[in-house]
């Protein structure tokens, strides 16, 4: 069966490459968009305890929503295809990044911030030189979680016409063709594991030396 799957890829390189490309593009874009929204939002929310709590609660509710439900809900509203899938995946990636950004900033010890302020750093300097570096490990853990969820969710985008490796899986199930199914399932599993590994390494690299 594995041999058949490999044979399929070999005979349909273009199809496979496109699906893989779409999958990666969709995942990367959703992650980038979610980070671009959630990190600034988290920076603002972390300043005020009430807002931070509300944001974390909202994010927690967001996290519990089944991914497929979110993707499915995009369809009646936005239609099918790449864009609606992208929107849904961005929404899925938002909660862990938001929660971790807030948690990371709140986790910086108040004495350190007090010392920085007392030494004459402006608010921006404190954020850039002290708070963000110290919050980076936690924020990155959130990015890592979100990345894996997005790659996983992008598989489901196949159901709303988003493309990606999920197409092979759905086709394989529909046609009861195991090799086809494997053409989707195995690469996407490898992709997911690879993403986790990549972000894990990044997380380790970006953790300031004094904190390890």
């Amino acid at each position: 069966m594995l041999a058949d799957a490999w044979h399929y890829i070999a005979t349909h390189p273009q199809q496979f490459a496109t699906a893989l490309g779409v999958h990666i593009a969709m995942s990367a874009s959703a992650l980038a968009l979610a980070a671009a929204i959630a990190i600034p939002m988290g920076l603002v929310a972390a300043r005020r305890a009430g807002v931070a709590l509300a944001a974390i609660n909202a994010a927690n509710i967001g996290r519990t929503l089944p991914s497929l439900a979110v993707l499915a809900l995009a369809m009646p509203i936005l239609g099918t295809g790449f864009a609606p899938s992208l929107v849904a995946l961005t929404l899925i990636a938002l909660p862990p990044i938001l929660t971790n950004t807030i948690a990371g900033l709140i986790g910086v010890e108040p004495d350190i911030v007090d010392a920085a302020r007392g030494m004459g750093m402006t608010a921006r300097q404190i954020l850039r030189r002290v708070e963000l570096p110290l919050a980076t490990p936690v924020i990155f853990a959130g990015l890592r979680t979100a990345a894996v969820q997005v790659v996983s969710g992008a598989v489901l985008a196949a159901f709303i016409g988003g493309g990606g490796l999920g197409d092979f899986i759905t086709a394989g199930i529909a046609m009861m063709a195991t090799p086809l199914l494997l053409v989707g399932a195995i690469p996407v599993t490898l992709l997911s594991l690879g993403t986790d590994f990549l972000f894990g390494t990044l997380e380790r690299r970006l953790t300031p030396r004094g904190l390890a």
Binding site: D111, R117, M119, G120, M121, P133, L211
Partner: protein, 313 residues
């Protein structure tokens, strides 16, 4: 150097600092002390505008702090807090270099200054420059904290219970070191503590505060000899006569007369309280004052010690 007039700060309607007025001369160490909630830390934090006053004025080195930009003001005032607040993600050198870098000194100058300061606080630059805060003990961290505060050579330093989180043994040696450092430099210090013994040891003048008001502001000897009211008397402790003795050096009361044979020996650098303690435990009334090399420099009698208290009064 620092002139505080009518300083007031209210929290929820209650006055944490109430019309406080105080003059601190250049080169002095002014210790703010009092029970919890007396407003000493609030007062200190108003000097570098970490908290803004409701009324009154603070003038530092001729500049009204309310008219200065807070950020710039803070870069010209050293700031040391109890928990130190070293940046864990930066090396010791980078920590110390913080304010000079904010002031945009050039790199070679910063590096020289960092090494100079580490040496000053007795932490070998070659060993500690590239270490991280988590590798240091509490006492070492606070030394770095002091070095960091001194980095841009500010004329004024604020210290909020800097040695409070450190064990008593290390604390005593840090206090001595800090006094030694101050003797070499020319700084005006505002030092907050709740420990009367630390205040007596460190302060040029002590400001005793209570419920936001200044109760007595004078030299340690004067406060010990003449507490202004029962509160101060209780605050400095029932053993204030002994505390006063601890401020008086043996060498100043040494008589040139040779001591009797078998007299117990006391170093000339010790204080009268140590001498008294020695004589009481040896059951004599005369001690031999010796120099560091062991030679006898003179003698000291119990009567002299007793008179020392009376004369000072």
């Amino acid at each position: 150097m620092i002139s505080i007039r009518g300083l007031t700060k209210r929290f929820d309607g209650a006055a944490a600092v109430d019309a406080l007025s105080l003059e601190i001369g250049a080169g002095e160490i002014c210790v703010l002390i009092g029970p919890s909630g007396c407003g000493k830390t609030t007062t200190m934090r108003m000097i570098n505008r970490m908290i803004d006053a409701d009324a009154g004025s603070i003038v530092v080195g001729g500049r009204d702090v309310t008219r200065s930009d807070p950020v710039e003001l803070r870069r010209s005032i050293g700031y040391v807090i109890q928990q130190v607040g070293l940046f864990p993600h930066l090396t010791i050198a980078e920590n110390v270099a913080t304010v000079p870098q904010l002031l945009r000194w050039d790199a070679p100058r910063v590096a020289r200054r960092v090494d100079e300061l580490l040496a000053l606080v007795h932490m070998a630059p070659d060993v500690y420059r590239d270490r991280y805060p988590r590798e240091l003990s509490g006492g070492q961290k606070q030394r770095v904290g002091v070095a960091r505060a001194l980095a841009a050579d500010p004329p004024v330093m604020l210290m909020d219970e800097p040695f409070g989180a450190i064990d008593p043994i290390t604390r005593a040696s840090l206090q001595d070191e800090f006094l030694r450092i101050l003797r070499e430099l020319d700084k005006t210090i505002v030092f907050v503590t709740h420990d009367i013994d630390e205040a007596i040891r460190m302060g040029t003048r002590i400001a005793i505060m209570r419920a936001g008001k200044l109760v007595q502001y004078d030299t340690p000897q004067a406060i010990l000899a003449h507490p202004a009211d029962p509160f101060v008397e209780a605050f400095v402790g029932g053993d204030r006569a002994l505390k006063r003795l601890s401020l008086l050096p043996v060498d100043a009361f040494r008589a040139n007369a040779p001591p009797p044979a078998n007299a117990p020996r006391i170093a000339r650098t010790a204080n009268l309280r140590d001498a008294l303690s020695l004589m009481l435990s040896a059951e004599t009334d005369c001690a031999a004052v010796v120099a560091a090399d062991g030679t006898v420099a003179g003698s000291l009698t119990l009567a002299t010690i007793r008179e020392a208290l009376v004369v000072r009064a």
